[in-house]
Amino acid sequence: MTKFLHSRLVVLFVTIVAAPAIVNAQRKPRMPSALHSAADESQIVAALQGRDIDDEKHAIMVKAAELPPRTLGDSTIRAIGNEALRLQREISAQFAADPSSRKEGDLDGAYMAALVEVLKNQKNPVAVDALVAMVPYFGTTESIVEFGERAVPALVTRARQPEASHEVGYVDGALDALEQMLESPQIRPTLSIGSRQQIRQVAIDRMKDTGRLETAASIFAHAAYLAVATGDPQLRKQVADIVNNDVELARHGISIDRQPYYSKVLREALAKNFEN
C-alpha cells in the first residue's frame, strides 16, 4: 500500500511540478519581469549601476523608452548617455580586435540600442552628445535634427573627426543631419550666424577631405549636398560644375557605376530652393 501510494505521489509530483518546469524550460527566453510594469526613474538609475548587463536591465530600458518626453531628470539622462557612449566604445574596441566576435542580437548591442531609444524619446538636450555619437544609426537623425542650434557644434565636430577603419557612416550621418536642419523651414531660421558659418565651413572642408578611399564617395556627396543647402552661390556653382562633369566626379572618388546615383541626388539638391 505504501509502495502504491509512493508511486502515485511520484507521478503526481512529476505531473504537477516537473512537467511544467520542463515546458517552461523549452520556452526560453522568458519575458524579463521588468517588462511587466512601467519603468520608474529609481529603477532606471539602479539599472545603470555596474557594468554587467542582463535581460532585466535591458527590459527596464525597453520600458523606459515608452516614458513620455521630458519625464526623466537631467542627471538620469546624462547617466544613460554616458552608458551608451561607454558601450559604443567597448563594442567598437571588440570589433576592432575581432570583427567576427560581434553578432546581431548580442545583448550589449541590444542594450545600447535601448539606451539610445530612451534618449531619443526623452527629447532632452542633455542627450545631444550621446545622440550625435550614434548618428545616423538607430534612427537618431530625426531626433538630433529637432534639437537644431543646440546640436550644431557636436555635429560639426563629429563631421570633422576622421573615421577609424571599422567606423562607417558617422561622418555622412553628421553631414546629413546638418543638411536636414538647413532644409527644415522650422529649424533653418533659428540657426545662428555662427552656426551657419560653421556648417558652411565643414561642408567646404569635407568636400576637400573625404577621408579614406572606401567611403570617400559618400562623404563627398553628403558634403556637396550640404554645401548646396547652405545657399551659398559660390558653393552651389562649385557643386553644379562637378555634377555635370564625370571626370570631376571620379576625381572625388565617385566611381563610374555610382555616378548616376550620386549625380541624381546632387541634381535634386540643386533643384531645391535653399534661401540664403
Partner: protein
Amino acid sequence: MNRCLAALGLASVLLLRSVPVRADYVYSPDYWPYAGVWVYLESSDPSDLDTWQAWVYCGYGCVEFQDASVSGPASVWLHDTVPHNNYRVQPNAYIFAQWGYVIYNGDGTTYQWWTNDATVLHAIWDCNDARSDINQEYVDWGVYADSSDHYMPLCGYGGTGFQSGGGYGPFPFSVLNTGNYSWAVIRYDYLYGFLWNVQNGAGYNITIGSAYRNPVRNGSVGGDYLSRHQWGDAADFKPWFSPAGCVDTGNWEWLREVASSQGATYIEPYSLDCTHVHADLRGW
C-alpha cells in the same frame, strides 16, 4: 521516507493552490471591434471566493482592467472590453503577467495574492492553420507590440498581415520567409518594394540573409527578443558577391546609403554585425 512523501504531497497541494487565477486575452472576430481581458478564478475551496477583488495590468497596447470587485462562485470570469481602435489592442499584446486578488474571508481576515509570475496567456482565436501556432509563439515568447509600431500578425491575409506566397521579382515569399512555417508576417505593402528599390539603387543584386522570423526562429538564431524581424519589416542583406564574413566597408556604406535613401528608418551600425546591413521600416 514517510516524511519525504508527506513533504512531496504538501508541495503538490501548495502548488495546486498557488495557481488559482488565470488571465486570458480574448480576441476574435466575434468580439470585433472589441478585445477583452478575462480573469478566471479557480479554487479548490469555493468559500475562498465569496468576495474578492482582482487587478490585471496590461502591457502596451492592451486594455487596463483594475479594481473590479465581484462576488461569484468558485470559478468566475471578470470581463472587460475596450475599443479595438485600429490594432491598438493587439491580438498578441502582452498582458502583464502581474495580477493580484484579495479575498475577504468571513472572519474579517483577508488573503492577498500579488505576483509577477507568468500568468497563462492564451490567445483564444484560431486561424485554422499554422497562423494560430505562429500567433501563439508571440504570446509564449512575450513578444509584444512596442510603442512605435502597433503592427502585429492577425489571421488576416495580405496587406500588412500574414502571407503564404506572393512577392515579386527577386524577392518572392520564399526568400523573405526565413521563419519556420509556410506562413510569415511580411509587410507586403513596404518590404518588397523597399528591397526592390535598394537593389535597383545599389546597381547589383543583393542577397537576403534574413527577413521574417517567427519568435522561435528568432530565438534560435540569437536575435534580440524584440527584433523587428518578427514584425516582418526588417531585412538583413549584403551584396551577392560578398563572401562569408564582413562585407567590405565600401559596399556596406554604399548599401546603407541606398537603404537610407529608400526609406529605411532604422539601420544598425557596422560594428554590431558586419556580415550584412540590417535595415528596417519601423514607424512606417
